[in-house]
Symmetry: none
Subunit: 402 residues, 2 copies
């Protein structure tokens, strides 16, 4: 069901809801048929909740498709990531915590190396270190051109964020300048429609200044741009579900995605303790709390099965206090799987647990994990179906049709 | 997820994949609750694979919809058959192994009987035998008309394939000439757009010659045409998934559907031995192998439960050798169900088995069959989700969104 339809159903309710995301929660066993990280973890509090709650697995994007962090979170916020798409530039801005304004054009940049004739000889400037890249990117940020403002921020290694703020309103329908291979010069900045000309001209003028600034360098002496985008004009989460909504997260990317859909966001120190303090502080001012735990994903990406288990157990330990802070309706899940065996995000469905509100309920105590979720009362659903289910349990959705 | 989206995610990978299709694999028990054909078969090798692999059921088209061979295979190749549709004429051409070229217009023909006034009195010419029909159809193939070439090939009984190859480029948007009932003359050849006029004119001229050729016959003296179509302009399988792809099949229909989506195809003698030899011969030149077994469907259509069981067992016996030929990532399934109890294709979901690549894995040894698949780790999915899952397991799909 489309978010515009859901918005028509939103109604007030007293109850408060919590979405607790353990990033990359889904996992795989080290041996076929063995326990996953979540199944190996001792989680008495999750299991207690599951025994009164309802379990299932969700598919964040589609079968076989491995979600990035942006689409993974959009999905559990209720935004079908195949419909609600964001450009790389906007994701990059979210990731570095850049406060993108409506009308800004964001694009992802790579420092590259060009030869004396201006042909690209290395599209990533030898994967230059962050230390070497940072002063180069600062000198790019200092370039001033007519037609508006161009802001450049370092991301990591050869990558940077470029934000164009043209004097005239402009769309972001602009072709990439990355030729995609070496031996050719960067492509021209080509607007796909006349409405994108102000930004295209501004960026073209800016690129023309780079040789004057970096021309003496024998590497990292030019920039390539990919994925021009703008803040999307989407239905906002607090409007769709009728919730005053707060994101509580240590990392800028997750506060950024939450702000993108209209939530407020607060920065906290990494770890369960930070989440709890922020939740307690904000309990009276909001109805919906999105709490983000990063450690599970990091352990998975590091290939550290045991640390992923320990991180899950640490969140489990703080769960009673989180529940004590007030939210009656709870969803615990991940934005995608990050099996430590794969050291990467993966396409595997993600376990979830609903508690509070009307539901069938699992039969007694169950172990929260992939196996119990596979045969749980809810079954396999798409990630974007989770939020309507949470809202329904919270009494926020009225009848469709009289 | 659309094939155009998947193509954006394709990346190189070293691993090789095999799709082993037992045509009409899905079955039904002879008595409610009893074993299906696959469950009755002794399949130690499939079961061993299943114990390390992941099981589920797929729905080739939609609930309650019985797939034909074309849509069934398109689905497991990743092409949603509700989106990717082919006309009857094109299917008929694939079925008889006709080498349809881009621009050809293919249409299915029926020999019919008309009276002295040209009114259809039997739409199928008394279901004339193949023996009687073949010389009639040959005489139709000899007709020459201005405006291009018209090729006619016998199919079976009263059915024939007509391929129009007009001198001028033409689309296939042409109405059927079959009036759908007796007592009326065949309908005129009516193009739905002016772009279809060259083919419509060519076919109209050709039809006008038939009375001169068959007018002395008292039955099978005219032709009716249904389902004008052309080779579709679809994303090609090797491009979408980044695989060098080979179909290995004894029957022209299956090589034809594979070629339709851009695979190479090789003809082999019927039976598991032919598949193995061809796989071994081609192992170094391709990354993806589609192997087609016809016997399961034939036994099902003949209502022969035991022969279907035996055919499944024969394929199981050759499985270790197939795996020994190199493919690490394996999908075993059917294009639809053909329960011998029904003597026909059916709408029932089809069991599948993935092996190789990252997966949760079933717990220990399981019997490959409908019941284990119903509660398998993957669950019930649409047929067109299988190929993205196979590609993901083979490491062929990168992350969606940063």
């Amino acid at each position: 069901m489309d978010l515009h339809d859901i918005r028509q159903l939103a109604q007030p309710s007293e109850s408060k809801a919590m979405l607790l995301v353990l990033d990359g929660l889904g996992g795989l066993p080290l041996e076929p048929g063995g326990p996953t990280e979540l199944e190996a973890a001792k989680t008495p509090n999750f299991d207690e909740l599951a025994g009164h709650g309802d379990l299932g697995l969700h598919l964040p994007v589609a079968s076989g498709v491995t979600p990035g962090s942006g689409p993974g979170h959009l999905s559990i916020f209720g935004y079908d990531p195949l419909i609600y798409r964001i450009g790389r530039g906007v994701l990059e801005a979210l990731g570095v915590g850049f406060d993108l304004r409506p009308g800004d054009i964001a694009v992802r940049g790579n420092l590259c190396t060009v030869d004396a004739e201006g042909r690209v000889i290395d599209r990533r400037a030898g994967r230059i270190s962050t230390e070497e890249a940072t002063p180069v990117i600062k000198s790019l940020d200092a370039i001033e051109v007519p037609g508006g403002e161009v802001i450049v921020r370092p991301v990591k290694e050869h990558r940077f964020l470029l934000v164009a703020r043209p004097d005239q309103p402009s769309t972001a329908e602009i072709e990439d300048t990355d030729p995609g291979r070496t031996g050719e010069p960067p492509l021209d900045v080509v607007p796909r429609t006349s409405s994108a000309e102000p930004a295209a001209t501004l960026v073209r003028n800016w690129l023309a200044e780079i040789p004057g600034v970096l021309g003496q360098r024998d590497r990292a002496n030019m920039g390539l741009l990919r994925g021009f985008g703008q803040l999307p004009d989407w239905p906002l989460f607090p409007d769709v579900f009728g919730w005053r909504s707060l994101a509580i997260a240590a990392y800028p990317m997750y506060r950024g995605v939450a702000r993108l859909v209209g939530m407020d966001a607060v920065e906290v120190p990494d770890g369960p303790g930070g989440l709890l303090s922020a939740l307690q502080a904000a309990r009276n001012d909001y109805d919906f709390f999105f709490l983000h735990v990063k450690g599970t994903d990091k352990a998975g990406e590091d290939g550290d099965f045991d640390r992923k288990v320990a991180t899950i157990e640490a969140v489990d330990a703080v769960l009673p206090s989180l529940l004590g802070a007030g939210p009656e309706i709870v969803l615990v899940t991940g934005d995608h799987s990050t099996p430590s065996k794969m050291r990467a995000h993966s396409w595997h469905p993600v376990p979830f647990l609903f508690a509070g509100g009307p539901g069938r309920g699992e039969k007694g105590r169950v172990k929260f994990g992939e196996s119990a979720c596979r045969t749980g009362t809810i079954g396999m659903i798409r990630g974007c179906e989770l939020m309507p289910l949470l809202a329904a349990r919270a009494g926020r959705l009225t009848k469709f049709g009289a």
